[in-house]
């Protein structure tokens, strides 16, 4: 085992014609790792917050998600209405998250809610989102007791609740938020960044929705 390790690392060093990285060369690489330089920034997402949210919505819709902009009081009602509009059962698997518990689900008498991880037979899931990326209309999901990963993947329809204040410009801002929340170098087990419904281009290069993950993604963008 450790022989294999030495063999590979030794091989690399022989090819690079040097020993283990040391001295100044090592400090330079360590410094780069400690404060990662950003790449060229993408101008289209560098906007004031309201325009950023609008850009998020525009890209999400372009990339086959649907979006509803609602006030906090309207979240449960919009979920029920969306299900009815699309002839979906009023049966949802919901992430057990404090954010979602803040909404008045009891107001939806017809809606039955199971809280927990996703099951193979789930039709609809409702989850929160860690962030939204304006540049591409992407939602970001961080796994944890309040957000099982399976809810992002197994159901046919994924309803996402995203607060306007959680919309950021690009990936780099998401990384910043992750470091802040989980500590530097620490990560939740899974971070899914999801752009629209699951899709495949594997038959004749034509995009078809609903390959293995959800066929539909509906995003509720909630005013703060």
């Amino acid at each position: 085992m450790s022989d294999a390790r030495t063999q590979i690392l030794g091989g690399i060093r022989r090819s690079l014609r040097r020993g283990e990285l040391a001295g100044e060369a090592r400090s330079a690489v360590e410094a780069r790792l400690a404060s990662p330089p950003r790449g060229p920034s993408v101008a289209r997402a560098q906007l004031p917050q309201p325009e950023k949210v609008a850009l998020f919505c525009q890209w999400a819709e372009t990339l086959n998600a649907t979006v509803a902009r609602v006030g906090a009081d309207d979240v449960p009602g919009e979920v029920t209405a969306y299900l009815a509009r699309n002839n979906l059962p009023a049966n949802v698997a919901m992430a057990p998250s404090p954010l979602l518990e803040g909404y008045d689900w009891a107001s939806q008498k017809m809606l039955s809610i199971r809280r927990g991880r996703g099951e193979g037979s789930d039709q609809v899931s409702v989850t929160g989102a860690f962030a939204g990326i304006a540049e591409t209309g992407t939602v970001v999901m961080a796994s944890g007791p309040d957000h099982p990963v399976s809810l992002n993947l197994l159901p046919d329809t994924h309803v996402v609740v995203l607060r306007e204040s959680d919309v950021v410009a690009g990936y780099e801002d998401v990384w910043g938020r992750l470091r802040e929340r989980y500590g530097k170098n620490l990560m939740p087990r899974t971070v899914n960044t999801i752009t629209g419904p699951s899709r495949t281009g594997d038959i004749e290069q034509a995009m078809e929705l609903g390959a293995h993950g959800p066929r539909r993604m509906h995003i509720l963008v909630v005013r703060d």
Binding site: I12, S15, P36, M187, N192, T193, G201, D202
Partner: protein, 473 residues
């Protein structure tokens, strides 16, 4: 996978005569390539991002040992394990030991070119463990018992009707006995059949687009969500990745992600980009209990520091093959091994030996389109030229070509003689062919004229003569 790269010429013959393949290849030009162009145009920063992507990869390769150790340290700190595999055989041993440790009967696999490279499926099957390909394209070719023909669209050589026949043949016993005609029905049927397999699998095996040293995360980019099901539902997640997949930080990943999807399929973003770090945490409601990363070398470390090093920047987007006139004419299977197209023509001789694969770097028109679209700016034509040189040094070039080159180099070093002889040849050739403007047959050039005409020299003399005349006026 067993290489047939040595049989490139006969492979090409079959490919050119296959009407289904030719139909599918015709779609590449209007499909991926056109969408890539539009995506690049929509992002003004695209060229700057390509420069940066190249620099990030160069920086990483120059410090590859450091970043691999750093990556390992982070994986271990978060409860995962790292396994080092110098060769394909080592990787196979490690993976089968891991599968046996949980008494695995089935392995849900998401598309991994490295797994193809080490022929993992054959190995698992021999041990009585069933590998289940879950990427739709890989699933289709697994049913058909074919190798992939493209690194991101493994079944791109097939038409919808061929897929329909394959599904009918294999799914009838599961109760799907109607032949489907619509693409979305085919996708839905595969989704249904594979769903139960995901839920039953003991091990999920994925590749990685990137390994992030800063966090010890493996990063996966897909459209279907199959990789995510593979790394979430089974109790063990194994990541199989080659050593050059490591990158320093999440910020570097952001740059590479922006060029990857656009170069590959012309998408603004793939549907799923996922970071997995360690096994599930105690309070998590799902996720695997074990997380293993297998780091495969398989000859890559010896490419570092050589004139071929630049190929290690490759992020496997497939753009070079989408834009290659040779790939576009013959498809991926003709290349005879896992990696087709220009990147395959450079990488395959490295991995299976130049003796086996010497045809591949020669199957190029040097038009340069691959280099012009490569997101990490790999000078693919230059690298193919290096292989031709090495092939020549090893005396692998055919005798006729070697002798021809010897005569040419003798003459090229004697300019006066060269000019006189080419002037005569030009006039003689012109006598026979000027009327038609081309030759259907030509002595010593049968290899060329069997498939296409050779243009006849036109009035005005040789290039040298015309150049001299022009300079005078």
């Amino acid at each position: 996978m067993q290489s047939t790269a040595h049989a490139f010429k006969s492979n090409v013959g079959h490919a050119l005569a296959d009407p289904n393949l030719q139909d599918s290849l015709a779609k590449l030009k209007v499909g991926f390539s056109e969408r890539r162009r539009q995506a690049a145009e929509r992002l003004p920063e695209f060229e700057a991002l390509r420069d940066r992507a190249r620099d990030i990869k160069n920086h990483t390769l120059a410090h590859l040992d450091f970043y691999l150790e750093e990556f390992e340290r982070k994986v271990i700190a978060l409860g995962g394990k790292v396994h080092w595999a110098p060769t394909a055989a080592d990787a196979l041993q490690i993976i089968s030991d891991l599968c046996k440790s949980v008494n695995a009967r089935t392995v849900a696999k998401s598309k991994s070119m490295v797994a193809e490279e080490i022929a993992l499926n054959e190995h698992l099957e021999a041990l009585g463990i069933a590998p289940i390909e879950t990427d739709l394209g890989e699933y289709i070719i697994q049913l058909r018992n074919e190798p992939p023909s493209h690194i991101i669209a493994p079944a791109v050589h097939l038409t919808k009707d061929q897929v329909a026949d394959t599904f009918l043949e294999h799914h009838a016993k599961l109760g799907f006995d109607k032949r489907l005609t619509e693409r979305n029905d085919l996708v839905a049927e595969a989704r249904y059949v594979l769903r139960q397999k995901f839920l039953d699998a003991d091990v999920g095996l994925t590749g990685a687009n990137f390994l992030v040293a800063e966090t010890g995360s493996s990063m996966l980019v897909t459209n279907e969500g199959n990789a995510d099901l593979s790394n979430t539902l089974p109790k063990m997640h194994i990541v199989l990745a080659s050593i050059e997949k490591v990158i320093p930080t999440l910020e570097d990943a952001a740059v590479l992600l922006r060029v990857l999807a656009r170069s590959a399929t012309g998408q603004e973003s793939s549907a799923y980009t996922t970071l997995n770090t360690g096994p599930k945490k105690r309070e998590d409601l799902d996720g695997p209990e074990q997380y293993h990363v297998v780091l495969l070398d398989n000859g890559r470390s010896s490419v570092l520091g050589t004139e071929m090093q630049e190929i290690l920047r490759c992020i496997r987007c497939g753009a070079c093959m989408n834009h290659c006139p040779v790939y576009g004419a013959v498809g991926g299977h003709a290349y005879g091994w896992v990696y087709p197209g220009p990147m395959g023509a450079v990488l395959t001789p490295q991995l299976v030996g130049v003796e086996e694969a010497s045809n591949l770097p020669n199957a190029s028109t040097f038009c340069g389109r691959c280099e012009s679209v490569c997101p990490v700016r790999i000078p693919l034509p230059k690298l193919m030229r290096h292989w031709r040189e090495r092939e020549f040094e090893k005396h692998l070039t055919p005798k006729a070509v070697r002798q021809g080159l010897a005569v040419w180099s003798f003459l090229a070093r004697r300019p006066a003689l060269y000019r006189r002889l080419t002037g005569i040849a030009n006039r003689v050739l012109a006598l026979f062919g000027r009327a038609d403007g081309r030759y259907g047959t030509l002595p010593l050039a049968g290899g060329w004229t069997r498939f296409r005409d050779f243009p006849a020299p036109q009035a005005g003399g040789t290039f040298h003569a015309r150049w001299a005349a022009r300079r005078k006026t």
